[in-house]
């Protein structure tokens, strides 16, 4: 019922899509860090088992796996050096940021 | 009622200029410093002020500024006479809303023409 909204979603490759991905690249590790800090972590330290493995172990390794998966997805879509030019300053023109990397 | 107030401190210039303006039929009065020029404009309400820039006391530009800032006097045309002919000075005077600018030395006819030009609207209204 909301076709306009659907078409308004940033498409892969568009500037908006890149911006969202960049935000996501920031949020994923930060959020994961929160999940890995004591108050949260201790919620799972209750002496229970899951599939015969201590719950806190399952939790830690699950988050770890999720992180790897998330990083894999992000790395597939984060813009490449050649696609983004200099960030922050849209005025600057050279896409390789003017560094003499290639010399 | 006078037509033209001349502010010029050099008698050697004042003398011939008043002469030609009077010859052309205008009533002319002269002052020799800035303060007198302002006083003259306020009291005599001339139809035109012929103003030298290098006046003793208040300079011609100061007088010009004051005249143009006074709503009562601002419509009085001001014709600047100066021995400093650099375009910078000219621009300065025009920025201060001088109505004309003549560099010394000048041909008498130029002064007459310029005065005539500046006084014309008034002529047409009265005529």
């Amino acid at each position: 019922m909301l076709p306009h909204r659907l078409t308004a979603r940033p498409r892969p490759g568009s500037a908006g899509f890149h911006r969202r991905l960049r935000d996501a690249a920031f949020v994923v590790p930060v959020f994961a860090l929160l999940l890995l800090l004591p108050p949260f972590l201790n919620l799972f330290r209750v002496g229970r088992m899951l599939f015969g493995i201590p719950l806190e172990v399952v939790y830690l390794f699950a988050i770890w796996t999720a992180l790897v998966a998330g990083a894999f997805v992000l790395s597939r879509h984060l813009p490449r050096q050649s696609e983004i030019g200099p960030e922050i300053d849209p005025e600057a023109s050279t896409p390789d940021s003017g560094q003499a990397d290639h010399s | 009622m006078i037509d033209i107030l001349i502010a010029e401190d050099e008698p050697a210039i004042l003398d011939p200029v008043s002469f030609i303006l009077e010859r052309a039929g205008w009533r002319v009065e002269a002052v020799t410093d800035g303060e007198a020029a302002l006083r003259g404009v306020r009291q005599k309400r001339p139809r035109l002020l012929l103003l030298d820039i290098m006046l003793p006391g208040q300079s011609g530009l100061d007088v010009l500024k004051t005249v143009k800032a006074d709503p009562d006097l601002a419509r009085t045309p001001v014709l600047i006479l100066t021995a400093r002919g650099r375009s910078h000075d000219r621009q300065l005077a025009l920025d201060l809303r001088a109505d004309g600018f003549i560099t010394k030395p000048f041909a008498n006819d130029v002064v007459i023409d310029e005065v005539r030009r500046l006084l014309r609207p008034a002529c047409c209204l009265t005529g």
Binding site: R22, A25, F26, P29, L33, L36, L37, P38, L41, N42, R45, G52, I53, P54, E56, V57, L60, W64, T65, L67, V68, G70, A71, L74, S75, L78, R80, Q81, P86, E87, I88, D89, E91, A92, S93, T94, S97, G98, A100, D101, S103 | D9, E10, A12, I13, D15, P16, F19, R23, T32, P56, A83, R84, R86, T103, K104, P105, F106, A107, N108
Partner: protein
């Protein structure tokens, strides 16, 4: 079955394999067929040099004693790599664009290319990493001991001398590292052979650990659930006994910082990076590698705890479990895995440290020895660097071995590693500030790192000897001199904390605080500011931001000389040719662009570090009068490396001074220019006024033929008068021109000034009488012999008297002329009773075109155009005399003229 000899032979054979691998890879690289070596996979695998024998053996030990804490050691790096877009990408971009060679180089480069900072960071790195290397040696010897002794009930223990074993390993590693790690001195021409070997080792250790893990979980046990159940049955605590708390957070922080700050990680991740895009793969693949490495840690630990004898070392479960099950082959594989993890760490760490030591310590010291450099020929500096790197690799491994011998067998693997982590974590605040905080400056970074390192040393490093040294144990218990507040593990009374947490808290807190406050309170150097912009804005910087305060006045030969010393002839040649920079006699006047100088500096930096490169080039270029050799000789007299930057400071101070003088001269010139303009505009004004009158009146006279006689004659009179005025103006200008341009020859001859004065008064008296002015003479001497030009002097007198006459409008005007001889000077004072000179004119009375009286005064007897007094003033100066305005006896002005008497003419 596994004899020590066999195990050792296997290890040697493995190292031989690495040799071949590195050699072949280097060969590929030299022939430009190193494509696969520069792949993201190899890059990722080489980063796993993070997993040392501490991971391979120690993680199981940690898991056995502290449960899940070992996960934090891998979770920190995981988070950093998952967030690669933010920190690592920036780090790699900067590292590549600035040709960074090490973490010390990065910090020194960002903070104004400070050599002091580089030395400090290098020093801390060496102190921190030495125990870490010792840890690897210990792991290797212990593992050899374990694997070869278990079979024959310890009888071989005596035969294997631990120390000799460790020494052998150290020597072997040193040889390998020297052979493949110092092939060339340019860090940017990365160590492809070594990296290939490291990547291979990464595969070996991963496979070995997974093999052991699979064997334990599915061979010995019956799946993970079974392993945990058995451990539970054996009374092992499988759940976390303590809540996750400050220690967990601390280890997480330390490991996250270590993956960036450890010299070997920096070397692999930043320096050896050949393509920024590789981070994209490493961002998920390295965390995945860590995950795989950790997957079986807990099961192995719990199975070991449940089945092995209570006194067995949990650190060695990876070896002892297969051995206990009779799987010698697997045990040998595990041993090779552990050996791999240890050797890869030793190799990369010693390469990274040797680069730091040689670039930041040895090179600056050696630069003082000019002769040595001059003798060493074409590639002087390059050869020096290579030699110093080889020596420092040997020294690093020697230090590690020494530490190993001194500390012996005490302690588990993990604590030593954490001490190192906490040490290098002191670089973290400065590193983050370098990337993100523009205002951070060199003093802040230096002070922060220094304080942090000192606190780390006091609270963590020193107490680590507490078990072996009684005096240190006492120190820990009571504090130095009994000061309880300074107890290493309870600083300022902070008790009850885990020692690691305590140390990390205080060191990082004081480190960061000092960094921030020192940066805010001290000024930032110019170079510091420029580098800050280039680092912080690396992603937005455009080409022209690269401005650099080096101005090249050196010839291209000078530059080539420097480039050749460091890079060698071939690379220097290529660099110069690429930019078509000519050399030799014909290029004496060729202006080298600053962009080329910047590129050259960067090329040099990739070999010898930013600070050294900057010093080398700055002295060669900015030192117009000082040659490179001279700079080296100057610094030779000083004892410290620091003097280099000192010299540079002086140099730049001289430059600043020169710039200031130039500015002043420029201001004077502009002032003169303005005076000239004023003069011309004034003259033009003075000419135009009479011309206006003359032109206007003559037009009237020409046109108005019927003019009344009286007016006509007045007009003619005005014309005449104005012509006279014009003539006088021209005379005065000519006079002035002659005076100022000293065109006219002065004839200074003995004259009687008194006679001159008499004549002048006579000339003026007629004028004075006309205006009814009385001229009084007061106290005249008989004669005044002076040296001078009589006509000129007369002109001055007439000028001044005429001035007094024309400006005197008193009712009873009087002019007083008094002259006397006083202190060998002839003094004349001419005073009048007129209105005097207004105070605002007193300063400028002798300037050109200054008129004292209102303009209305200027009637027919125009006194001149304001040049008179100026001319008189100049004349008097020419005759070594003076013309001044003084307070006189009459109410009006009083001018005093003084002239020195002619000594020869005075009768003895």
């Amino acid at each position: 079955m596994l004899s020590p000899d066999f195990v050792i032979m296997t290890a040697v054979a493995y190292v031989g394999l690495l040799f071949v691998l590195a050699y072949v890879s280097d060969g590929f690289a030299r022939h430009g067929r190193a494509g696969f070596l520069r792949s993201p996979a190899v890059y990722t695998l080489s980063i796993s040099v993070y997993c040392t024998s501490w991971t391979f053996y120690g993680a199981v030990g940690t898991a056995a004693s502290d449960g899940l804490e070992f996960v934090a050691i891998y979770m920190g790096p995981t988070l950093v790599f998952v967030g690669w877009w933010f920190i690592l990408r920036k780090l790699v971009r900067i590292g590549r664009s600035q040709r960074i060679t090490s973490i010390a180089d990065l910090l020194s480069s960002r903070f104004g290319k400070s050599s002091r900072l580089a030395v400090l960071v290098t020093l801390i790195a060496v102190i921190t990493i030495t125990p870490y290397i010792a840890l690897q040696l210990k792991a290797i010897t212990t593992s050899i001991q374990v694997i070869s002794s278990a079979q024959e009930g310890g009888s071989h223990l005596a035969r294997i001398d631990n120390n000799r074993l460790a020494l052998g390993v150290a020597i072997g590693m040193a040889l390998f590292t020297i052979l493949f790690g110092t092939r060339n001195v340019d860090a940017r021409e990365q160590h492809l052979g070594v990296v290939a070997a490291i990547a291979f080792e990464a595969v070996v250790k991963l496979l070995a650990l997974i093999a052991v893990g699979l064997f334990v979980v599915f061979g010995l046990g019956d799946g993970p659930a079974d392993v945990y159940a058995r451990a539970l049955a054996a009374g092992v605590e499988i759940h976390e006994s303590d809540p996750f708390g400050s220690r967990w957070v601390t280890v997480l922080l330390l490991s996250a910082s270590a993956i960036i700050c450890l010299p070997r990680q920096f070397q692999i991740t930043v320096v050896e990076n050949s393509d920024e895009e590789h981070l994209r793969t490493a961002g998920w693949a390295f965390p995945a590698y860590l995950l795989l490495m950790s997957l079986f840690t807990l099961p192995i630990a719990f199975y070991g705890l449940a089945t092995m004898p209570a006194e067995s070392n949990p650190d060695m479960f990876v070896l002892t479990l297969p051995m206990a099950a009779g799987q010698d082959g697997l045990a040998l594989f595990a041993f090779i895995g552990g050996f791999s993890s240890a050797t890869s760490m030793i190799i990369i760490a010693s390469i990274a440290l040797s680069i730091m030591v040689s670039n930041h310590v040895v090179l600056p010291l050696a630069l003082r020895r000019t002769d040595h450099l001059a003798d060493s020929g074409e590639q002087g500096i390059a050869r020096l660097l290579q030699r110093s790197r080889r020596i420092s690799i040997a020294v690093m491994l020697g230090l590690g071995f020494l530490y190993f011998r001194l500390t012996g067998e005490t302690g588990a693997l993990a604590p030593i590693g954490l001490i190192s982590f906490a040490g290098v974590a002191q670089f973290l605040p400065a590193l983050l500030a370098a990337l993100y905080w523009r205002e951070a400056n060199m003093r802040g970074a230096l002070a922060g790192i220094l304080i942090g390192a000192l606190v780390w040393f006091w609270t963590l490093f020193l107490p680590s000897f507490g078990t072996t040294s009684a005096s240190i144990a006492a120190l820990i218990a009571d504090g130095p001199w009994g000061i309880a507040a300074l107890r290493p593990q309870a600083l300022f009374g902070m008790e009850g904390l885990d020692p690691l947490v305590h140390s990390v808290f205080w060191s990082l807190f004081l480190n960061t605080g000092t960094l921030i406050f020192a940066s805010l309170l001290t000024p930032q150097g110019a170079l510091d500011r420029i580098q800050a912009g280039m680092f912080v804005d690396i992603f937005s910087a455009s080409r022209d931001v690269q401005a650099h305060p080096i101005r090249s006045s050196a010839t291209t030969d000078d530059l080539f000389f420097v480039a050749e010393r460091v890079l060698g002839w071939r690379r220097a040649q290529a660099l110069f040719d690429a930019d078509e920079i000519p050399r030799g006699e014909s290029a004496a006047d060729f202006a080298v662009g600053s962009d080329f100088v910047i590129r050259l500096e960067r090329e040099l930096a990739s070999s010898i570090g930013a600070a050294s490169a900057h010093i080398l080039l700055s002295t060669a270029i900015a030192g117009d009068t000082i040659s490179l050799e001279e700079v080296m000789r100057i610094t030779d007299e000083t004892q410290q490396v620091i003097e280099y930057s000192h010299e540079l400071e002086n140099k730049s101070r001289e430059l600043r001074e020169a710039a200031r003088q130039l500015e002043e001269a420029n201001a004077r010139l502009q002032d003169l220019h303005r005076q000239k303009d004023d003069f011309l505009s004034q003259v033009s004004h003075e000419v135009r006024t009479p011309m206006t009158s003359i032109r206007s009146i003559s037009e009237i006279l020409l046109k108005e033929l019927d003019l009344e006689e009286e007016r006509r004659s007045r007009f003619v009179g005005t014309i005449h008068q104005e012509s006279v005025r014009l003539t006088r103006l021209l005379d005065e200008i000519l006079d002035l021109g002659a005076l100022e341009g000293s065109e006219r020859n002065w004839e200074s001859r003995p004259i009687d000034a008194e006679a001159v004065l008499d004549r002048a008064i006579a000339v003026c008296e007629a004028l004075a009488r006309q205006k009814g002015i009385a001229v009084e003479h007061v106290g005249r001497p008989l004669a005044a012999p002076v040296l001078g030009d009589a006509d000129r002097l007369s002109q001055v007198f007439i000028n001044v008297i005429a001035n007094a006459v024309s400006h005197n409008d008193a009712d009873q005007p009087v002019i007083q002329v008094r002259s006397r001889i006083e202190d060998g000077q002839y003094v004349v004072e001419i005073a009048d009773n007129g209105r005097g000179i207004l105070p605002e004119y007193r300063q400028s009375i002798f300037d050109k075109f200054v008129r004292v009286q209102p303009e209305s005064d200027r009637g027919g007897s125009s006194p001149g155009l304001g040049l008179g007094l100026n001319i008189s003033h100049v004349i008097m100066q020419r005759m070594n005399g003076a013309l001044e305005l003084v307070d006189g006896p009459l109410p009006g002005a009083c001018f005093r003229i003084t002239l020195p008497l002619n000594a020869e003419a005075i009768p003895a």
